[in-house]
Every structure is written in C-alpha cells, then in structure tokens.
Symmetry: C2
Subunit: 337 residues, 2 copies
C-alpha cells in the first residue's frame, strides 16, 4: 500500500468536496427526474465552455436519458439522435412568420417544429396551423415556446392546436430552463411534451466549479495527512464500499466488507487501460440502476437527504494515530527553538 504521488491521485478528499446539486449528482439526471416522463433535448452547445465540454454534455445527457441533442458533431460521434428547430433570426429573415414556416417545412417536411414566439406566441401558433394545413405536412408538427409564461402559453397552444384538429401536434418548451423550472412546469400540469435544456445544464450554473484537490495520503509507506483548520484530510489509501443502506469509507488494506460492493477499481496499470471503453448503452443501464437504488429522499430535487457515509474503525484509528504522531514531531522540533 505504499502510495506514491500517482497511485493516490484519485484519492479525492471526500470530506471537502461535494456538489451543491441534488444528490443525483448531475444536472442531466436532475432534468430527467424533473421532466416526469416528458422528452428532453440537449440545447447546451452554444453556451458550454469550449467544444470538448459541449461533447461531454451531450454524452452525459444521453446517459441520463435525454432523447436527442442539438449538437450534430456529438450525435455523430456517440450515435445519438440529432434534433433542432429553427432560430429566431431565421424567422426574422422573412417578411413574416408564415413565409418562414413554409420555407422551413418545405425543407424538413417530415419533422417540423415551428418556433412560434418571435413576435406573439398566439399569432405564431395560428401561423403554424395555417402552414401545416396549407402544405398538408405528412408528419406530426410541433410548436416551440421559448419565452413568456410557458405553462399558460402551452395551454393556449394546446387549445388552438386541438381546435384545428392537430391533436398529435407536440408542444416543445425552452428558454433558460433548469431542473427546477422543469419540475414546476411538470407539476403545474402544463401540456408540454418536450423540453430543451441548454445553458444551465451545460455550464452547471449552480455549481460552477468542483472544489476538489489532490491530497497526499501516503508517502514512502508512511500514512500522511493535513491538519489545516477546516481542511483536515484522512491518511492512507482508501476503498469505498457500498450497499443500499449507505457507503463505508475504509482503508484499502482492510479485508473486503461482506455484502458490500467495492467502488474503486484499478482502471490503468503501467500506463495502459485495463479494459476497453464500455458502450454507451451499458453506461446508461448502470447509471439508471444506480439511480433506482438510491433512497427516494436522496433523489429529491429540494432538500435531498445525503446517503449516510460511515468511516471504518481502522481508518478512524489510523487517522487518530497519524494526527498524534504529527503533533508529537512538530512539538519536539518547536520545543527546541
């Protein structure tokens, strides 16, 4: 167990680092839980911090259960469904909305979602109905609401669409949404079939940085730790054991805990990965199984209850011994000054 710098690099200081997000841990999963069965589309690309981040968000949202992404490069790379509607600037480039909608529908007749809020949402929905009728579009149309009171406008749009006989037309909502806004809309019973989520998922707006740090836990076979005020670390290489009731943080040298799953596995050895990358579908399945295994109180969007983490007796005793050793050595030296 003598840990050098590299072998212990994945020892995060578990006490100091946690996300402020709900216990599901990620914005993507929180959105899926909030949407309560409605479809979700990743719209984050234009606001993510760099191209790589946009690919990571598209992949993470697919794992969580998003139906599609507006990021075409990510869709190609990961085999996801690409989806998008139209920009306000597209509408504005035409004399009026009907001309814009008709031009778009002629190019994409099978899967047409009209952006209806550029000028006035009620009139926009009527223009979409008129174009759908006039062009006799083959597939179901959709309308996208991107501003205003989305719940109220969704009800208005549903009434207008149903009144025109377009009962299979879908209502799509977007515009600065996060999991909390989605949960409110879903709870209100607004007739929204799908949500586009962008900025607040792509940049993790409520947790803009992960306050993790490298902590040395052992050096040349000797367990080490920090005692800094408010930043005390725990010595020794760790293992995390999980069972439905909660996790146990133990020393890696302890015998495995019966009935628990060991969460830390070696993934690299001598600079080489130990297994081929998993297919996305396998990751999706495992993530959803993990989520289902969480206690319901830990999955709540508001005031989620943390899953309890117990510290093993051996780790507690090593921590106390190492702290005493450090204080003794430091005291010896300063006594001599």
């Amino acid at each position: 167990m003598p840990g050098g710098l590299l072998t212990d690099l994945y020892e995060l200081n578990m006490a100091a680092s946690y996300m402020r997000r709900s216990m599901t841990g990620t914005a993507t999963f929180s959105c899926v839980l909030a949407a309560d069965g409605a479809q979700l589309v990743d719209f984050a690309f234009r606001r993510t911090q760099g191209i790589d981040a946009s690919l990571a968000v598209a992949r993470a949202s697919a794992i969580a259960g998003f139906a599609a992404t507006s990021n075409v490069a990510a869709a190609r790379r990961y085999g996801l469904t690409a989806a998008g509607t139209m920009a306000h600037s597209f509408i504005e480039a035409f004399e009026d909305e009907q001309q814009a909608f008709a031009a778009f529908a002629e190019d994409f007749p099978g899967k047409t979602t009209f952006l209806v809020d550029t000028y006035d949402t009620g009139r926009g929905v009527r223009a979409a109905i008129e174009v759908a009728r006039r062009l006799r579009l083959p597939g179901p149309v959709g309308v996208r609401l991107d501003s205003g009171d989305l719940a109220e406008l969704a009800r208005l749009a549903r009434t207008l669409l149903d009144g025109a006989g377009l009962r299979d037309a879908r209502i799509f909502a977007s515009g600065g949404l996060d999991e909390y806004a989605i949960a409110r809309l879903a709870f209100s019973g607004a007739p929204i079939d799908a949500y586009g989520v962008g900025t607040k998922m792509g940049v993790s707006a409520d947790a803009p940085y992960l306050d993790s740090a490298y902590k040395l836990v052992a050096y040349a076979g000797r367990p080490v730790m920090k005692l800094s005020a408010g930043k005390t670390s725990a010595p020794g290489a760790k293992q995390v054991y999980r069972r439905p009731g909660g996790d146990v943080l133990a020393l890696r040298e302890e015998p495995p805990l019966p009935g628990h799953e060991a969460l830390l596995l070696p993934v690299m050895r001598d600079g080489r990965p130990l297994a081929a990358p998993e297919p996305l579908a396998a990751i999706q399945r495992r993530c959803h199984a993990d989520l289902a295994a969480l206690p319901p109180a830990a999955r709540a969007l508001h005031d989620a209850e943390p899953v309890p983490v117990r510290i093993s007796e051996q780790l507690k005793s090593l921590r106390d011994r190492a702290a005493r050793d450090i204080m003794r050595r430091t005291a010896d030296r300063t006594a001599g000054t």
Copy 2:
C-alpha cells in the same frame, strides 16, 4: 448598412446581457480594487475550465494589475512574472515541516515563501523562522496562510516574525478568496502583503455563464427585430458612443455624436485583421484609464450603480416603426385564416 448574418455577429443584445459582477465588469479588476494596494498573484490554473481558459485568466489578471501568475506557461507566453510557493503534499512528504522548509529553501534560497498551515499555523510560522535563521537565507522570506481565520493568523504571524527580527518577511494569504473576502481582509487592517486568488476568479463563480446571444438586426437592407415576451431586441446596426457622463446607444448610420468616443470599431475586413495585436502594456494602460474614468459609484464592489445608457431618438423611432410593421404584417396574415 444592409447587414448579413456575419456582419452583424458582433451586435450583442445589450438589453438582455449583463454580468452580475460589480460594474468594473471582471473578477480580475474587482480583486485589484479590493486589495487596496496589496499584491495579487493568479492561482487559478488548477480550476479553470481547460488550458486555454487558464492562459486567458493569467493574461486578464496581468492586464488588471496582478503582480504574478502561478501559471508558468502563461508567464512564458505573455512575458509575465511566474510565482509560486509549495504544495501541502510537499510538506507531508517529509518527516516534519522544518525538514520540508529547509529542503525547499536550499533549492530556492532567494525567494522563499513557506506554506505554514499544513498542521498548525503558529507552529508553522515558528518552524519557518527557525529555518530562515539556521540557513541564513539571503532574500526576504515569506509565509503563506491558506486556511483558518486569515486576519487573525496574519496578525499572529506578523507578531512572531517581527519578534524574531524578520520585519521584512512578507505575509501571503490564499484559500478560496474572491474580491469580497479580499475587501473584508483589507478593510480589517490585517497585515497581509499579498493575496493568491484562484478558483473564484478563474471560473467566474458568481457569473458562470454569459447570457449573450446572436440577434439578427437587419436582413437584406430591412431592419428586423424580435418581439418575444421579455426578449425584445432593437433593430438596425448600432454604434455605442461614450463620454464621462454615460453611454448612448445609436444607429450606426447616424452622424457621430460630438464630444463622444465611438466604441465599436471594425477589427476584421475580408477575413483579415485590420491592425496588429496591441502589446500587453498598451492594453493595461487603456484598461486602467477606462477604470479611472468610471464614476466612483460604478466602481463599488457592493450595490454598484450602473453607468446610464441613453437610447438615441433615431433608434427609438426605428424600433417603434419596425415593431408596428411586424404587427401589421402578422395581423394581415392571421386575419386571413
């Protein structure tokens, strides 16, 4: 003035987009204002969102007036001063702090800053004093405080250092600082000579995304705009005129406003930059002159007063005319359904 998509790409929707930061606009300038003359060092690299962001933060902090950066690549690229102290893991890799400090001082005898909070800050300062005396270090030493009550520990460190005759020893503070924490420390009169600022400057934690968007303002010579609820845009290509009393947002086709400076300048034409990049020193001078020209109330860290922005009469009248045109056209069409 007929604007195609690309020529208007720099027309940000000024009404919708602003930063929540103080009116100085950036975390780097806010830190400089807060530090009230103390030195600042950029420590953001380990938390920035990617390598490019770390270089941008180092450059921006140098423009604002930071004395140094811990980012060696940025220091090389932009000709900045590189500075750093030591990691907690370095201290922990030795049997005790004095051994660690002595090993570090032997490698960097001219400019030694000891990290004193790994175990107990008071004992750490005493260990630093002991090593500085024993090795008779040529340059002034420094101590870095990275946890606990920084104001109180700075006073303790100052007392201990002065008592040992090390009156020119510098006290350096770090640990999750932002401009507000720096302002509190500076206002409290804590004897801190320099601050290291990292995460909260490098990721802009209180403004994790810039809610800017592309808005079409003209197409094929016709001024266009959005009327979406809460997201109305202003038509036509703009110019921003500045004078000390405030800014004026005007149409680009209007005659220049006497006594004002036009802020938007062409920087590219036919895909080529129109001027060589400015040297960093010139950018620094202009930024500090701009900052000095702001009204004091706009430079406040808390409850800063926005600089007033006036809309020109011609822009107001174009906006009203364009909105009427759109409503008329939309009404004509839906009247026919």
